[in-house]
């Protein structure tokens, strides 16, 4: 078996007295798309932060391509697509400005972009079909376009791993299909992709595998098995079954 792209091994994280992750384990092979399913507060964001090396686990370890996350950070290998609530959409930046930020890890002291960087940004914008919107202020995009702008940032960055936090929240059906197709293309090119979502119906088309998170990884396997109602009931509580 090859080295896993992401290896989360019995990771426990506390915030003060609050237990965010409880001996969570997850192993993800390269070039796969994994959907991370769980309620709010199930530890999805914390797991992302642990993979990016933003929170230090109290115990257990995280390896990215077989190495500590700090190595991957230095290579700017991890692309991150934040959830909408975490972004200040009134920030005075154009789509192109945001995508250019993907290049900063490769640039010098003042981050002055060179031609190669501008080309990489143009190419990334083309890839997500936002070339015509490059000079718009980021808040003036639709929900789906906003997500694609951040995916473009990861592409311009040359990320071999993408973490997406709720990419389908506030996104219409057509954009959802576009984003799904885009992520499948990136995975076909070798990118490893981890998507957190509670939009379950989008998962089977998008993901090679799915994982149920409730402070620990309850289950990890193919989407149609993991998304069985009795398994979801375990992660979400019985509520979801009654409603759905």
């Amino acid at each position: 078996m090859s080295t896993p792209a992401i290896l989360v091994d019995k990771v426990t994280v506390h915030y003060g007295d609050v237990l965010a992750l409880d001996s969570a384990s997850l192993s993800l092979e390269p070039a796969r798309i994994c959907g991370l399913v769980g309620m709010n507060g199930s530890g999805k964001s914390t797991l992302f932060k642990a993979i990016m090396g933003m929170v230090k686990p109290d115990s257990g370890q995280v390896l990215v391509n077989g190495q500590p996350p700090v190595k991957m950070r230095k290579e700017a290998g991890i692309g991150y697509v934040p959830q909408s609530e975490d972004v200040d959409w009134a920030f005075p930046l154009s789509v192109r400005d945001v995508v250019m930020m993907g290049r900063y890890g490769h640039l010098g002291f003042t981050r002055r972009p060179r031609k190669a960087d501008r080309d990489a940004v143009d190419h990334a914008l083309e890839r997500v079909e936002l070339s015509d919107y490059a000079d718009r202020q980021i808040g003036q995009l639709s929900g789906g376009q906003k997500k694609r702008a951040f995916v473009a940032r990861g592409i311009a960055q040359g990320a071999t791993m993408m973490l997406l936090d709720e990419p389908f929240a506030g996104v219409d059906k057509r954009s959802e299909a576009t984003i799904t197709r885009l992520l499948r293309e990136l995975a076909a090119d070798g990118a490893t992709i981890l998507v957190s979502t509670h939009d379950l119906h989008a998962l089977p088309q998008l993901c090679d595998e799915a994982a149920l998170l409730m402070r620990k990884v309850l289950m990890h396997g193919s989407p149609d098995v993991v998304l069985q109602p009795e398994n979801l009931a375990m992660a979400f509580g019985l509520d979801v079954m009654n409603r759905g």
Partner: protein
């Protein structure tokens, strides 16, 4: 009296030339910094740090150290204390900021009251533009140029930090270090502006220009030009007005900035309260005429 005479007459006094130079430098540096402060939501932090440096400046005066050093130490102390109070008690951040900076400011006032030769130090509180000495000017120029250079050279990193610290972390930058850099520059800039408008009004120069520019453009790179230009113009205008109307010069500079903000707030074509309506009415009329 023609316009040229009006403009040139004050320049025949050395103290007026020094006042204009000092204010213009302080205005530009503060304005550039303010672009990040208003976007991160650090206005209250700017208020806090600019007040909290007072005891540092007084102590530096007493022991004969550079003002900037004392200010920097107390700015960092203030930020640390705010963080400690917020993280280790149930007191919320705005209350923590209020407690820490007023206490440190009061400490500064007490230190001033027991320090002989109070004249210099009282000027720090309300500013003393017309009394800026040649040595003060040199200090303002050096600190101003240093702060300005760092802000301009690191502007892309600072903007990334303001917009998306998580991404900054993911690509190997340190958001913590960038935040500390910005706070350090805030302390440095406060010292520059102390000389001109004084501790109490520094916060105006640290917020108003950035907020004004934010209402005028959707591009951060343009904010970085608009804010200092407006701020410098207001400073010069404020000083001339104070010269001819015989009003307090530091306060007049701030009043000029506040007035420009009010005009932009009302009439900015993109964001202004009245400006957007006027633009809408113009479009309607154009459509009606075209029919």
């Amino acid at each position: 009296m023609d316009l040229l005479t009006i403009l040139l007459e004050p320049l025949s006094y050395d103290f007026m030339v020094r006042a204009l130079l000092t204010t213009a430098i302080a205005a530009v540096v503060c304005a550039v910094l303010s672009c990040w402060l208003v976007l991160i939501g650090w206005s209250l932090m700017g208020d806090a740090v600019s007040h909290a440096v007072l005891p540092g400046v007084v102590l530096a005066y007493i022991v004969g150290a550079p003002f900037a050093l004392g200010a920097l130490v107390f700015a960092l102390l203030a930020v640390t204390l705010i963080g400690v109070v917020r993280n280790t008690s149930r007191v919320k951040e705005d209350a923590a900021i209020g407690i820490v900076f007023t206490s440190l400011f009061a400490l500064g006032l007490v230190l001033i009251s027991v320090t002989p030769s109070q004249t210099d130090l009282n000027h720090i509180i309300f500013g003393n533009l017309l009394g800026v000495s040649a040595a003060d000017l040199v200090q303002v120029v050096i600190l101003g140029v240093v702060a300005f250079a760092i802000l301009v050279l690191k502007r892309r990193d600072l903007t990334l930090y303001a917009f998306d610290p998580t991404h900054a972390h993911a690509i190997g930058l340190s958001p913590r270090r960038l935040g500390a850099l910005l706070l350090g520059l805030l302390a440095l800039t406060s010292v520059v502006a102390l000389q001109t408008v004084g501790v109490v009004l520094v916060v105006a120069m640290l917020i108003i220009p950035g907020a004004t520019a934010y209402l005028l453009t959707d591009r951060f790179s343009r904010m970085l030009v608009i804010a200092p230009v407006i701020s410098a113009a207001c400073s010069v205008a404020g000083i001339y007005i104070s010269y001819y109307l015989d009003t307090a010069s530091g306060a007049m500079v701030v009043l000029a900035q506040g007035t420009v903000f009010a005009v932009v707030y009302l009439f900015s074509p993109r964001q202004g309260l009245i400006g957007t309506r006027l633009a809408k009415a113009r479009r309607k009329r154009a459509v009606a005429l075209a029919r």
